[in-house]
């Protein structure tokens, strides 16, 4: 099969030819599953180690349509793998286990599994797994509608003529386009818009800073507990936005908040924001920023300005690869910029992990932490109750600027996460305010670390921006993630400005400008905080930013392009942007 999922002939016979990656340490089951899947006419690849599976997935991002993994594996926890895959590759993941305890199943769903199978597994259960792939694409396609930066290439992918699904509606290119224009099509297009096309990749709406600010304002106005997409949509008064876009964004926001909160709870609030619940460095784990200083190779971090809030870069991996190409480095990559030592381990709750790099803990490290976000798009999440609570800062450090961010006061909790979406090409520097005082940070922290939460949830590449906790307005953190399958990723350019953060630090820092386009939603830092967040939008073409370098794949390539506030803009910095940050 060639690479583009949609362009391969395989699609014509969908679901036959579905490319499945099976991961299980039990050799007997691996063989059985392989046989079963082959009987379903799927293309099967087997792995007995999670690390091996990740490697395969990363090698060719669009080589698989769906992943099936066991929960208990020796080298890596299945849930972790689930998260990573969701974040980096944005593929649907099915969990399986011989243990069917409700708590386990719940955990699977929480981490973003789109299904949880109990062993012994029946053939008929496997026959239907294609629905998860299909569903995901449908949701993505739905996003087109509100997507401004519609990627026609993506549409182009939709095949005309793949009509074999018995069930149904595939999308037609024309339909998609028209849907795109449609305003608020709640589910209408489900039934009628699509002709026979194979599922296409989605286009994402880019949640710009302003947009996100509006969103957050609306949410706060309504009251976090009573919030609902329709209400928000009405309040926001953005004509082209649809209810689905909002719903998806809300979901991510919630996840982000809850995740921040979790992280805050878990993290010891040492000065460094370090997420260490999961080994950051472990290949499987998503470590947002490797504290290793990648800086050197990275963009000249020195000039990064990061916003102290969390930049939530969401990258929607719209591209079928689903990963943020430019986004934050995957755990294994050393994209991260030399981040401070405390690179938090990305605790991405959701499968989608955004590699958030811990915002630098200014306290200890003066280096700027570059938050590398990883834009893997989160897999769907199911509704789950997320722990609420004020989000602590512990956000994944999105971007850690290495620069003399020492100013950034990072207090125990509040790690400023700066997300530097560092796109190899030109990345707008995200300004982070290193000089956020602790109090500020603390204050900010409450506001949800948008990005952090988003990342995980986001199906779309999310570059979680360092959750500047403070940046976000304190919102009830309990965001529930709902609507897992859809993640409307907007491809508009999001530029987050973390105003709050820009305080003094910014001026001190060289601002690293980059335009990160994050495909997907990027939660903007609480506007009220006046933070500048850069939203990375992967898909979005950063035309505005002029980051042409972003290598847009045919599909939306999640590239993080963060739009930097103009004052941060420093074209000179572009060159220094470290490409490594973005996965091309």
């Amino acid at each position: 099969m060639d690479n583009g999922c949609f362009s391969s002939p395989r699609h014509d016979a969908f679901p036959a030819g579905l490319r499945v990656l099976v991961v299980d340490d039990d050799p007997t089951w691996l063989r059985i599953l392989e046989k079963m899947l082959k009987k379903c006419l799927y293309e099967v690849t087997t792995c007995c180690l999670a690390t091996e599976a990740l490697k395969k997935l990363r090698e060719r991002k669009d080589a698989y349509d769906i992943v099936i993994s066991d929960v208990n594996m020796p080298d890596m926890d299945g849930f972790k793998l689930l998260e990573q895959v969701g974040l980096e590759m944005d593929l649907p993941v099915i969990m399986m286990s011989v243990d069917g305890e409700t708590s386990r199943v719940m955990k699977g769903v929480q981490h973003g599994a789109c299904d949880y199978l109990l062993k012994p597994i029946r053939m008929k259960e496997l026959r239907n797994i294609w629905q998860h792939v299909f569903r995901k694409r449908m949701h993505e396609a739905r996003d087109f509608e509100s997507h401004e930066g519609f990627d026609f290439e993506g549409i182009h992918l939709m095949r005309n003529g793949s009509d074999h699904s018995d069930d149904g509606n595939l999308f037609a290119v024309e339909e998609i386009t028209s849907i795109k224009k449609r305003k608020d099509a709640d589910n209408k297009h489900d039934d009628k818009e699509f002709g026979d096309h194979s599922p296409m990749k989605k286009a994402r709406v880019v949640w710009s800073v302003d947009l996100h600010q509006k969103f957050v304002k609306a949410v706060n106005q309504i009251g976090f507990d009573k919030v609902g997409p329709k209400k928000i949509l009405d309040l926001m008064n953005v004509p082209w936005l649809t209810r689905e876009n909002v719903a998806s964004h809300l979901q991510k926001y919630r996840l982000y908040l809850s995740r921040l909160q979790k992280e805050n709870d878990q993290k010891s609030s040492s000065s460094g924001i370090k997420h260490s619940d999961s080994p950051s460095k472990d290949p499987g784990s998503f470590s947002i920023l490797d504290t290793a200083n990648k800086q050197q190779n990275d963009v000249a971090i020195d000039s990064f300005s990061y916003s102290d809030g969390s930049l939530l870069l969401q990258m929607d991996a719209t591209s079928h690869e689903g990963n943020l190409k430019g986004i934050v480095s995957e755990p294994t990559t050393e994209k991260r910029r030399g981040s401070t030592g405390d690179i938090p381990d990305p605790k991405i709750q959701k499968s989608s992990q955004k590699s958030l790099n811990q915002p630098f803990t200014s306290v200890e490290s003066s280096e700027a932490n570059h938050a590398v976000f990883d834009c893997t798009i989160p897999t769907q999440y199911s509704w789950s109750e997320f722990p609420k609570g004020p989000l602590k800062e512990e956000q994944k450090t999105l971007v850690q600027l290495e620069d003399s961010l020492s100013q950034l006061p990072l207090h125990g909790n509040g790690t400023q996460h700066h997300i530097h979406v560092d796109q190899s090409q030109s990345i707008a520097s995200i300004n982070s305010n290193p000089s956020i005082t602790e109090e500020e940070v603390a204050a900010k922290l409450e506001t949800k670390p948008l990005y952090a939460g988003y990342e995980s949830d986001y199906v779309s590449p999310v570059s979680s921006i360092g959750s500047a906790v403070e940046v976000f307005p304190s919102q009830s953190k309990s965001l529930m993630v709902n609507d897992q399958s859809s993640e409307p990723t907007f491809t508009s350019n999001l530029s987050l400005k973390a105003q709050g953060f820009n305080r003094d630090c910014i001026s001190d820092l060289d601002f690293y400008q980059r335009n990160l386009l994050l495909g997907g939603e990027v939660a903007s830092a609480p506007l009220e905080e006046d933070l500048n967040f850069f939203l990375l939008q992967t898909e979005c073409y950063n035309m505005n930013f002029g980051l042409q370098n972003i290598d847009m794949s045919e599909y939306y390539d999640p590239r993080l392009i963060a739009e930097v506030p103009s004052h941060f803009y420093d074209s000179a910095d572009y060159s220094s942007v470290d490409q490594s940050l973005f996965i091309a």
């Binding site: 039990d26 007997t28 208990n72 012994p120 029946r122």
Partner: protein, 151 residues
């Protein structure tokens, strides 16, 4: 006739394995997967299972020797894997015993674990023996039709 007789015998033996509760549906699933491309699929799977399960049994045995105190977590983990492997061929009774063992682990009941493990080994050995006899008979009877059963 001879052939038919053999086949009937094989079928009867298989049926008795089911009747005795030694095997469950999964075994039939395996038979259904057997086809021209993999004519000995069931045996192949069972062999894989034996290999994996013997290894696990040794590990459990080893872990049970390291008493004072017993590492229940480790035992539970190992047994979980063993259970997974047993489920792959449909070893019903063995699986039940696995569950019991895990209960004892969770309760921290060392004696219970030991007893349960002994029982488990017996069940495991019994099944293995019967399956070997079954496969032998099946081979003698010649290629059989794939199990047909309405799904």
């Amino acid at each position: 006739m001879d052939r038919n007789q053999s086949r009937r015998q094989v079928a009867a033996m298989k049926q008795s394995l089911f009747d005795q509760g030694l095997l469950d549906e999964q075994f039939i699933q395996l038979e259904e997967l057997q086809d021209d491309a993999n004519p000995n699929f069931v045996e192949e799977i069972v062999t894989l299972h034996y290999r994996d399960s013997s290894r696990l049994i040794s590990s459990i045995e080893q872990a049970l020797k390291e008493r004072n105190p017993l590492d229940f977590n480790k035992l539970d983990t190992l047994m979980h894997q063993f259970k997974g492997s047993s489920s792959s061929i449909g070893a019903k009774k063995v699986k039940t015993e696995c569950n019991l063992f895990r209960e004892y682990c969770r309760a921290g009941n060392a004696e219970g674990c030991m007893r349960s493990f002994q029982q488990l080994k017996r069940e495991y050995a019994a099944l293995r023996k019967k399956l070997e006899a079954y496969f032998q008979l099946a081979r003698q009877a010649g290629p059989q039709e794939t199990a047909c059963r309405s799904k």
